[in-house]
Structures are given as structure tokens and as C-alpha cells.
Amino acid sequence: MIEDLIFQLELGLPQVVLGLVNGAFYALLSLGLAVIFGMLNVINFAHGAQFMVGAFVAWMLLNWVGIGYWPALILAPLIVGAFGVVLERTMISRLYKLDHLYGLLLTFGLALIIEGLFRNGFGSSGLPYAPPELLSGPPVDLGFMFLPKYRLWVVAAAVVMSLATWIIIEKTRLGAYLRAATENAALVQAFGVNVPRMMTLTYAAGVALAAFAGVLAAPIYSVNPQMGSSLIITVFAVVVIGGMGSILGSVLTGFGLGLVEGLTKVFYPEASSTVIFVIMAIVLLARPAGLFGRA
């Protein structure tokens, strides 16, 4: 019986590793959502669309301007982040004093509009984006499986980015402003901090994280207008499980649930697409604030 299980697990290890790759995207996206929610109290439903736009910007940079993957990894988040600045200044900043529902409706509407525009412009069949030369070559031998170099890079990049975000928020002065403003923005402003500008930049940073994930995703998934909306539903479940607004929580839950999904594919494949939602339901019943959330 146990030998049987171990055998199954050995056969399934590749699935688990691939789960980790999915987990990398869950972690990056839920991290951006957590940063935005913590500071602005807005549930950014446009996050998936912004992820998709990040992938498209990378594609456009390559095909229209001839700028390759590595510069795009920095440029696309900056471009999409600048777009985030405009959104926050012109629309989202007007909703802070209203109920959550308004922010949710606005960003959901924005997501639909952005997606529609891209579907109109690029169709929905998807555009190819090749991985950079440095990461294409033959797959890496992990002993139990061959993993394309690029996927290994995705996991590493997501870990480094999550860690960097965590350090900025928990260990720096800027992060102390952010944490304090999450608790009492009016008082932080009364100490002389330009809180409105900080909120704009926080939104831009969250959006830029989504775009960064989008560029990472471009060579794995085909670049298409729906790539965000199919992922973002799962990511929202991840955020609910991890606890809204918890940075570390969203990262750990992201990777963790990627693994759980991978394991489910090994032991009970039929449930692999629903397991995250089952966990969400259980967590909501047992710990409504999420695994890492403060009630």
C-alpha cells in the first residue's frame, strides 16, 4: 500500500514541480493584490487584465520595436505601471471613501474593457512568444524529470521578486510608511507624508507586479486576451485562503496551493481544477480571515 503510494508519487513528481510553476504565478499575482488591498483597501479586479497587458506589451516590444525579453522584463512593468498611475489618479482614487463594492465594480468593469479592447485588436487565438535564447536550450535534468530551463527561471524569479517585495515592506522605511498608512492613513499624512502620492505609487507597484508576471508567462502560455481572466479567479481564491492584505501569506499560499494542485493531479486528477476552491470553502468556514490574515 505504502509502496504503491511512493511509486505513484515518483511518477507524479513532475506534476508537483509543474504545480510549483503555477504556484509562482499565483504567488506573484496574489502578492500584487495583497499590496494594493493592504494600502488602498481596493480589491483590484483588473489585476488579471493588467497581467495580460504585461504579456502583450512584451509581445509588442518584441514584434513592433525589436526589444527582446530581458529589457521587456523591466520595461513592460514600467509601462503598465504608468498606466496604473493614470487609472488611480483619474478613477480609483475617487472611491477610497466609498464601500468596497464600488472599487470592485470599477476595476471589474475596467478588466472587461481592457480585455475587450485586446480581443478586438489581436483576436483571441493567441500569439506566440519565444523564451529568450539564454533559457531555451535543452531541459535541465532534475533526476526524476526534465524541466525546461525557462520554467526553472520562472520559479526562481517569482521567489526573488516575492522576497524583494517582502523585504521592502517589512524592513525598509518606505515599508514602515506603507504599514503605518494601512493602519491610519490620516495620521501618517499629518506627520508630513504625502499619502495620496504614496497610494498612487502603491497601486502602480501592484500593477507592475502583475505585468512582471505577465512577461514571465508570455513564453509559457500563448499571449492572448483571456490569459488573465482564467488565472485570476484561482488567484482570488488564493488571496482569500492566504488572508487579504497579508504579504507573506499570499506568497506562501500561492506556492503552497500550486503544489497542492500538482499533488491532486497525481492522486485524483478529476479534482485538480476544483481542489483550490474546496480548500477556500474550508478555510472560510474555519478561519474567515484567512490562514495568515488578522481578524
Partner: protein, 234 residues
Amino acid sequence: MAEPLLKVEGLQAWYGESHVLHGVDIEVREGEVVTLLGRNGAGKTSTLRSIMGLVGRRSGSVRFDEQELIGTRSDRIARAGIALCPEERGIFASLDVTENLLLPPVVRPGGLSLDEIYTLFPNLKERARSPGTRLSGGEQQMLAIARILRTGARLLMLDEPTEGLAPVIVQQIGRTIREIKQRGFTILLVEQNFRFAQTVADRHYVMEHGRVVDAVANAEMAGAMERLHEYLGV
């Protein structure tokens, strides 16, 4: 004679629909310690919050350092050199003591150095890594005051710093206020406890129903006791 450091005239303020200040006039000269006395709900805290730009709507005039601040956003008011130590203290739970202490940005030179602050409040050094809200009430109050001494703000507004604290801590806060006055800070203090106010202040304003109704110099306090008892209902 030069204009006082802070000159408030006809200050009115609203929280949403409720009209809380009905024309407040106060002056604080450089280097003075001035208190606002009055019962609960008289508008003392609202006056401080209005000067700081923390109410929904305000009108009238708040001149500080010869600058009009009535239409100015609270972060710019802070940058002009006014700092508030709020009644609820406003210690951040997700920040440790040092982070709380270093949170307000330095707005101009002339504030206390970290070493000077640790000399005044040795407890804050010992508890440097504790979360801000794990401190005792007295320590949290020390932290809330210490926090605004660093920034170089010239006018410190302290909202009931002695509220709910043990007598020995109240004495320590009194010593601190006298010490920072000696260093040239100007202080606007809200107090319910006028015996405490008497030990630190140069002048007192009495507020009732969102207005200043009386002013008493500290030297004349003894003669004004009867009046004050009536105002404050003690």
C-alpha cells in the same frame, strides 16, 4: 511686535454634517506653553485636529509662522512645522518601537537627536524591538511624544497626554514638557486636568461649545479658580 507663531481666528470646523467649532480664536507665541481647558465635547481636540488639517471642512484663519494654512493639506501643514500627538496616541501595531519613533519624517533642522530622545525616555531604547502597541500605556504616551520631538516641528500639539496614566507617569510627562519648553519648543496642550496644566503652562484658554470663552494667565490661576471650577464643572 512680531506676529505670534500661531494665530487662529474665527476657526470653524465640521465633521460631515456636524458643526463642531464655531469661531475659535487663539494665539500662541514662540516658546510658550498654552493649554486648552474645557469639558468633554467643548471642542479642544477638534481645535487641534482642525489646526492640523484633519477635519472634513474648516473655515476661518490659521496662520503659522506668518503663513496662512487654512486651505492646506495636512502633510504640508506638518512640513510647515506643526506636529500633533493625538489623544488616542496613534501608535502603530505593525511597527516596532524604533519604527514608530522614526516614522514621522524630519521636516526641518532643530529636532532632538535619537540619543537625546533616548536620554529623555530610556524605556524606548530598552524596548526598541517590541511591537509599538505592546508597550504600557505610559510608555506608549512617551513614544507618541518622543516621535514628534525628532522632526524639528516648532509647534507641538499634545492632546491629553496625561489621560488615564498613573501619577508617577504624569509627573514624568510634566518634567518632559518643561524640558522641551526649555529647549525652545512651543506647545499647545489640551488638558482636562487643570492642576497638571498649572504646573507646565504659561497661559490657558477655556473652551465651551466650540468657542474660546475665557483666557487666564498662569500667574492669575489662583484668583480665577472659582471661575474655572464653574467652567470645568469640577
